[in-house]
Amino acid sequence: MHRAADWDLDAPRLVNAADLRQDLGLDQVLAAAARQDLFLWDNVDRALLSPLVDVADIRYRQHALSDALWHPQMLRDLYALAVEAIDAERSVHRAWFLSTDRPDARLHRAVSVLDLLVGFLRRLRTLGELHADTVASPAFTNLFESLSEELSEDYLETVTDHLRLLHLRDGVPMAVRIAPGNRVGDYQLLRPERPRMRWSELLPTRPRTSYSFEIPPRDESGFRALAAMRDSGLAETADVMAASALHVLDFFHQLRAELAFYVGALNLHERLAELGLTTCFPSMDSAEGHPELSFHGLYDLALALRTGTAPVANDLRPGPHGLIVITGANSGGKSTFLRSIGLAQLLAQAGLGVPAEAMQVDARPAVFTHFRREEDPTMTSGKLDEELIRMSAIVDAMPAGSLMLFNESFGSTYEQEGSEIARNIVHALLDRDVRVGYVTHMYDLAQGFAAEQRADVTSLRAERRTDGTRSYRMIEGEPLPTSYGLDLYERVFAD
């Protein structure tokens, strides 16, 4: 998933993940990717909501996804193996390695877990060797190469030998010292092999070189003490083995999670192919400090999946597009258009294909949505209050350079007031290099931006044909003082 490090499975998703899921229709996308598998759902969800910002990282993932799409069977086999390994381990041990565990118990459990997982490592390496020549992406190439290098048969044999010794069938031999206080200290584990008898030591004339004693079977505290001594000798080795077992287990968990993402992406891809819809990997390159956005044939993926048909697609000419103000006819596709931009941004930064013929987009640290919500059911605050509180929370979490999508925000008060609030907010956001998409009916607001004649402000209008019908296309154009609500009214009240 990442060039440098493991995919951090505990990494927090964007703080506004819930808003994004709701406002951008992520559930449609996740459902198509998951095919009822919650684990797939969760991992695609994580990828979408913890966007990559480094273009090289995105390219790395796009590459790996290409491999996966070209070799679907290989991907599904690898995933099945990872799932099997974890299920097997779970059914036997449910490995919990608590730091409070006694070393003896920890060692025993670690050895059993490793006994089991070494077999899966061997199978995984074999599978990798089979496909090593067919993959092209750094991600899969590196995985297969490191498996083959680090887990050679010789090495796995050595590991198996030690695991056998560590069952400690001949007791625990240690070298110790008299420590301060006439204690026994400085415990050091010796190779746990059968003790070698020396006949000479048994001759009665020799001074004795050893004494033995037995703890009576009912002496519980005696056995506890004995266990503590044994644990002292085993502590270090137990730590090493527990860390090893955990690491191997982590490796399989990590592998399963990462592969789950690609399996989800593959599922999504296959579903779109069924519907005859295109996707493409977006180009993420942009010169430093020159934000750029353009697309050809961008459609709303969530809408497409929901309706099962190809929705209207839109184009946007190349440009910085620091602020895109969208005005125009009611039910003219403005919200859908805004959503398609947000969703494409998340898809692109997850390393997935975007629903377009072609797209150029720059990476953004985060995506925020401020969509109109239902009236506050608790009536604790007015609608404008609620909107401002929500905006304030967004600003708390917002890094400079984010993507911010407003849908009819601050429209719940007098237009002049709402405009003034919105204008101040938007200007502040632009100062912080935030790209803003703003769908609004507020002519005053939209016209105000248009009148500024800034190169980074783009005014779009939902097209209304002369007969009053909508094309659901966005065309560039200054806002108009009416939203043609009357059209809608007349259609609804036509009879």
Binding site: H162, I178, V184, R191
Partner: protein, 535 residues
């Protein structure tokens, strides 16, 4: 040969050594045998919040009985200065460090002797070793303290006497022989290394036959590539099982080791038999008495770090005045220092013919804190410790008496007044011309005119008896009652009268206080209203 000696260790520590010599040196009292008369804590200390201070001091060293010394005023100026001198020496960092290190070591010695004397079946070897360890640690403690004090520019009679004693003692042939022999015995024991194999319930102890290759290292190497992080740097210390009372299995192991190495273990037994007691009584007493000083220095250290001053008060015997600059409430300062803050300081000033500080001013303006401060500084001065303030000159008092308002009982108004008067009577009755009396808001439960009348009577009584007092009241007239009274007013900010400065200064009572006090009793003062009415 029976070599267990349960009884001998119990007399290893004590006020007299085995030759019957008693400790001859005290750092608490210039006259060596004078011991503070144990008496119940004066009730006034709780009102002054000094009980918190003293409890904290005592709790910081629970195994020493130092509380009595903080409770009992000293009889004369010489006794106070004897302690001041010891404090001054201890405030030299090198002396303080030496005494602290010594104290910690002796404490550890006592613990070891205690463990060794707790007879437990079957662990004789460990007990003997603890005993030998205790001798060894004691030797180190005494030697090290002697060495460190040798070049210190000591000024106090108390510490100089301790040093003289130590120098003679540590140089004696008996002491040197004991220390050397102990070290040799312990070194020999700890050079023993042996083999131990545990299989099921069977334990085998052997003169080590296996070549001791650490298998942990080999495992760590082999499994290295399975591990997440880099291997830890170098070999880590291997633990001894940290159960303090050695369990009987370990004891059985050591018993076998003793059979395999009889010479080294026999030497240990002989050592213990030779020294049934080993701590010098003077050394023991010094370590105990030093706690009085160390505990107090520990307690005031955070307050000093927060920027507050302490000083050694000049004890006045002839003059009857009282002058303290920039003093403060020690309990409050300690609490605030813990939260990273400082406190407001105030001066105390009484000329020769002035006896009574009458404090008026707005509520929550620092009047009570000021009253406590005056009581505290007198008591602390009398037990011979550094007091809060930049400079101080004080008479030596015999006791600080207090009367603070008790929790109000609205159902029983007359009962409360009666109770107040009874307590007040006891205080006035018990006080002497060498006492300090702190009276805080005595007559709040009665009418203004009654409070004025009764207050006048009390103040006149105090004046007649020539008693040094603080009287906190809302009755302005009392502030200018007679020549003995001095009027103090707690201050508010000029630009915002709802903000207190917690400064209490000499000033005629100005009348605002009563109105504010009255209003605030009903929760109607300006800042209270601001809190009650939320925007």
């Amino acid at each position: 040969m029976d070599i267990t000696r349960e009884s001998s260790t119990t007399i290893a520590m004590g006020s007299r050594d085995h030759a019957g010599r008693a400790a001859a040196v005290s750092v608490l009292f210039g006259v060596a045998e004078a011991v503070g008369v144990a008496r119940p804590a004066p009730p006034g200390l709780a009102d002054l919040n000094l009980d918190d201070v003293i409890s904290a001091l005592a709790a910081s060293r629970p195994e020493y009985d130092i509380e009595a010394q903080y409770l009992s005023p000293l009889p004369d100026r010489a006794a106070v200065e004897y302690r001041h001198d010891v404090f001054r020496d201890l405030e030299r960092p090198e002396v303080e460090a030496a005494v602290r290190a010594f104290s910690d070591r002796v404490e550890a010695v006592r613990r070891r002797v205690q463990s060794a004397s707790k007879a437990q079946h079957g662990i004789r070897w460990q007990q003997r070793c603890w005993y030998a360890d205790a001798i060894s640690a004691y030797g180190r403690a005494a030697t090290e303290l002697t060495r460190l004090l040798a070049d210190a520019p000591l000024q106090s009679a108390g510490l100089i006497a301790v040093r003289d004693h130590l120098t003679r003692y540590v140089g004696s042939p008996e002491f040197v022989a004991m220390v050397t022999r102990t070290r040799d015995v312990l070194d020999d024991l700890q050079s023993i290394s042996f083999g131990l194999r545990i299989r099921g319930g069977k334990v085998t102890v052997s003169r080590q036959a296996d070549e001791a290759v650490d298998y942990s290292d080999e495992v760590a190497r082999v499994f290295d590539r399975f591990r997440h992080s880099a291997p830890p740097d170098g070999p880590r210390a291997r633990a001894t099982i940290d159960d303090p009372g050695l369990n009987h299995v370990e004891a059985q192991v050591v018993d076998r080791v003793a059979l395999l190495w009889p010479e080294q273990f026999g030497a240990l037994t002989a050592l213990c038999a030779t020294y049934p007691s080993f701590v010098d009584p003077t050394v023991d007493r010094f370590q105990r008495e030093a706690q009085f000083y160390l505990a107090y220095l520990d307690y005031i250290a955070p307050v000093r770090r927060a920027g507050q001053s302490f000083c050694y008060p000049r004890v006045l015997t002839e003059e009857r005045r009282c002058e303290v600059e920039e003093s403060f409430d020690l309990a409050l300062a300690h609490k605030l220092a813990g939260q990273g803050g400082g406190v407001v300081t105030n001066d105390i000033q009484l000329a020769d013919d002035e006896r009574i500080l009458v404090v008026t001013g707005p509520n929550h303006g620092g009047k009570t804190t000021f009253a406590r401060m005056v009581g505290q500084v007198h008591h602390l001065a009398a037990v011979g410790v550094p007091v809060p303030g930049r400079t101080a000159a004080l008479p030596l008092v015999d006791e600080v008496f207090t009367h603070f308002e008790r929790a109000e009982n609205l159902d029983d108004n007359r009962g409360k007044l009666e109770d107040d008067l009874r307590r007040l009577h006891q205080v006035i009755h018990a006080a002497t011309s060498r006492s300090v009396v702190i009276l805080n808001e005595v007559f709040t439960s009665t009418s203004l005119s009654d409070a004025r009348t009764m207050g006048t009577k009390i103040l006149e009584e105090l004046t007649d008896r020539d008693i040094l007092a603080v009287y906190v009241t809302f009755v302005d007239e009392l502030a200018s009652l007679n020549a003995s009274t001095v009027s103090l007013v707690s201050q508010v900010r000029d630009d915002d009268p709802s903000q207190r400065t917690f400064k209490v200064v000499r000033q005629p009572a100005n009348g605002i206080a009563y109105a504010v006090a009255l209003a605030s009793r009903y929760g109607l003062a300006r800042d209270q209203l601001r809190e009650r009415i939320t925007p």
